[in-house]
């Protein structure tokens, strides 16, 4: 079994409208690199020049914000589901 990444609407142009992408990476950092090799251009949308996840990008592993885990070093195991979600307003 592999890991799944949910691609948010603003990035689906890069994934040929694929919503759910399977990956093999072992960490979030590696996942971003793996996505980049398959969908060129996606990396710069997610991380800034310094390689940090962009300010308005929230990444979740199984519904937990990676900032509560180990950020880019957060390990991934088979069956994990990763969501990439833009920050949204209050309510």
């Amino acid at each position: 079994m592999s890991k799944k990444v949910r691609i948010p609407t603003p990035l689906r142009k890069l994934t040929n409208n694929e919503e759910l992408v399977e990956i093999n990476a072992a960490t979030i950092g590696e996942a971003i690199v793996e996505l980049q090799t398959r969908f060129p251009g996606i990396q710069e949308r997610l991380v800034d020049d310094k390689g940090e996840v962009r300010r308005f990008v929230n990444v979740y592993v199984n519904e937990e914000d990676i900032r509560f885990l180990q950020n880019r070093a957060t390990p991934l195991k088979d069956g994990d589901e990763i969501s990439i979600i833009p920050a949204i307003a209050g309510g």
Partner: protein
């Protein structure tokens, strides 16, 4: 273009400046930066003067050129222009020369500032042809979407944390909205809604309609400036959940200066949070320009957003206006709710307690000088968060319908008070 879009020019990314068409979209495809409405201020300046504004009905729509609708609003035409109270008794209690309360606890129709943003979002949603509207909410927004959608004949779905105050849940159900309680805190509701919004063709007021929605908050700033006699306050104290309101109050003041409606005077915009959910105030006090997300634990549920979307910009506004942030505990929130009620006769919800409590702290510490003038923004009504104060304001004393018993009661109290 102008006839089609009113005074709006485009949606523009706040990070990189890329422009997008005026549709139901909220995120820049390149850096995920939030999109914001850009206006044609030269045209607005020709049409919006003090005299024009004063000739219009007393609602938030008297500033309609500065609000993102293409034509006349169709939803929430009566919203806004809430009282600005000169709060002399509260001023005395807090030890400040001059104090005002902007009282959105009596906003129409659902008793919170959210009616402002919803009125804009739903008017725009109708312009864009939507028939179903939705939101992720900590309560007040859900109430407002439910009520305004009902009166506009729109179908609504509101998503809330399932542990909300009973009053706030009932206040959405009554309007026939589809109320979905999510077993989780607001940030989780938010995440789910971001995913739902991508899938269904609905107008999610704080997701894909956010650029329009958020602009509604500016009307609070316009009203404050007009009600003060066309001037900016020296200090404004604003509650922060996502941080959006604080940034829009600033934008509202700046637009009035840009249009020559008020003089450009020094104005500080301070932020208030609950200690149990204070990612922005903690960052501000530490001098950081970014925040660390938190898991909320506070009675101020309407402010319980651990990952504040506009936290970064709120910090920037406080830095740029040389302002402060602070936070208050649950006990301080309850005390402040009671203080506001006992001095000014205004029953605010927990967020109002946060704002008054933080104002008290900032005045006591000198961050807001005692000889200055300040405005406190009260954004919601205490009748919706009764649970929070239920066991903290004493009890009614019961007697038989007998004069003798009443006299005995008074005598006993006099003894206690003596």
């Amino acid at each position: 273009m102008s006839e089609q879009h009113g005074f709006m020019k485009a949606l523009k990314c706040r990070e990189c400046g890329r422009e997008y068409p005026l549709e139901a979209t909220h995120v820049c495809e390149f850096d995920f930066g939030p999109l914001e409405v850009a206006y044609d201020y030269d045209r607005i300046k020709k049409s919006l003067t003090r005299a024009v504004i004063e000739s219009r009905p007393k609602t938030m729509w008297r500033y309609r050129e500065l609000l993102p609708v293409a034509t006349e609003p169709t939803v929430g035409k009566q919203v806004g222009f809430t009282p600005l109270i000169k709060a002399d008794r509260l001023a005395k209690a807090l030890g400040i020369r001059e104090l005002y309360v902007k009282n959105d606890a009596v906003n129409y129709p659902t008793l919170s500032f959210k009616d402002r943003v919803v009125s804009v979002a739903l008017s725009r949603a109708k312009e864009l042809g939507f028939e179903t509207v939705a939101c992720a909410s900590t309560g007040n927004l859900a109430n407002s979407v439910a009520a305004n959608a009902a009166s506009a004949g729109l179908k609504s779905y509101v998503f809330i944390p399932s542990d909300l105050e009973q009053g706030k849940i009932l206040n959405s159900l009554i309007y026939g909205a589809n109320v979905i309680g999510i077993k989780g805190h607001y940030d989780e509701v938010n995440r789910l809604c971001a995913e739902i919004a991508g899938k269904f063709g609905w107008a999610f007021v704080n997701v894909n309609m956010r650029p329009y929605y958020a602009e509604g908050s500016k009307s609070m700033a316009y009203e404050i400036a007009e009600q003060l006699g066309w001037r900016l306050p020296q200090h404004t104290i604003v509650p922060m959940a996502s941080g959006s309101l604080l940034t829009k109050i600033r934008k509202g003041y700046q637009e009035f200066v840009k249009l020559g409606l008020v003089a450009n005077s020094e104005t500080h915009i301070h932020g208030a949070q609950a200690t149990g959910c204070s990612p922005i105030s903690v960052a501000q006090k530490a001098g950081l320009d970014f925040f660390k997300p938190v898991k909320p634990d506070t009675i101020a549920k309407s402010l319980a957003i651990g990952t504040p979307a506009d936290g970064f910009y709120a910090l920037k506004v406080m830095r740029e206006t040389n302002a402060a942030a602070d936070d208050v505990t649950d006990d301080e929130i309850r005390d402040a709710i009671k203080l506001l009620a006992e001095t000014e006769g205004i029953f605010a919800e927990t967020a109002g307690g946060v704002t008054v409590g933080v104002a008290k702290k900032l005045i006591a510490s000198g961050r807001i000088p005692k000889d200055s003038s300040a405005v406190i923004c009260v954004t919601g009504n205490g009748l919706k968060t009764l649970d929070a104060v239920q066991h903290h304001c004493g009890k009614a004393r019961e007697i038989k319908p007998s004069l003798r018993e009443f006299e005995a009661l008074l005598a006993q109290e006099e003894k206690v008070n003596a």
